[in-house]
């Protein structure tokens, strides 16, 4: 069974469970009053994270392998604040930049397999 099919099978129970929790918590009523903008952003978040992101990830695994893919995908630590500056107007302070730099190098070392180039 391929990764996309497995991904589909694993997301189905998760989505159902979240809907059930929403119903029990009394949040389900908000579905009827959901605005188009909120829906579009959440749909974009889901598609970029769970569909496009994972498809790209699996293709990368096939093309260059896990040892090179994982450290490169950690670039998201540095790219996320840049995206947040443009999309949600978040500021990047010098302290945050230093911390992010350390996290990036640390996670790169943690996920890089010895001997990989």
């Amino acid at each position: 069974m391929d990764a996309t099919t497995l991904n589909f099978y694993s997301l189905v129970p998760g989505a159902v469970m979240m809907l059930l929790i929403g119903v029990v918590a009394g949040d389900a009523g908000s579905l009827s009053s959901l605005g188009v903008v909120g829906l579009a952003y959440l749909a974009a978040a889901g598609v970029t994270e769970y569909f496009l992101g994972r498809v790209f990830y699996f293709v990368s695994l096939r093309e260059v392998g896990l040892a090179r893919t994982t450290p490169l995908t950690n670039l998201s630590v540095l790219l996320a604040p840049v995206a947040a500056v443009f999309l949600v107007r978040e500021a990047v302070t010098p302290k945050l930049a230093v911390g992010l730099g350390l996290v990036f190098v640390g996670v790169f070392l943690l996920t890089r397999r010895p001997g990989s180039q």
Partner: protein, 140 residues
Amino acid sequence: MRYSWAIGTALLWAIAPSFAKLGLSTGVPMTIGTFIALAVTLPFLYGMATLMGNRPRLWGVDRNILLASLASGILNALATLSYFIALNLELVSVVVAVSCVANPLVAMLVVRLFFKEEKLSRQVVVGTVLAITGTIIIVS
């Protein structure tokens, strides 16, 4: 060119939290926000799997695959829910950094607990120290 898929992944995974934060800022409850983000993906995955000749079946799926999918699906949904709650409370940069550090650290801890023969290299120790130091600087 071969590396563009990995860089594309990083780019997509970097943009997604901002989209989620924007969506949640409209007042959508966390549970419903998580449900939408997960549910919207299903037709795309179904279509992609069908195109690749592995159309997901509703019946007759191997029991082990179903159990594994159930467990990973539930954990994944709870992880997404807590991620969304964190995004609603904190800066995108902080949430992404903390989750990025926690992922390999927990994996390393699990490996150490269950596969005791695996030794910690100097690279892993230095990486851990740097990642934790960076996280402390970010959240302090």
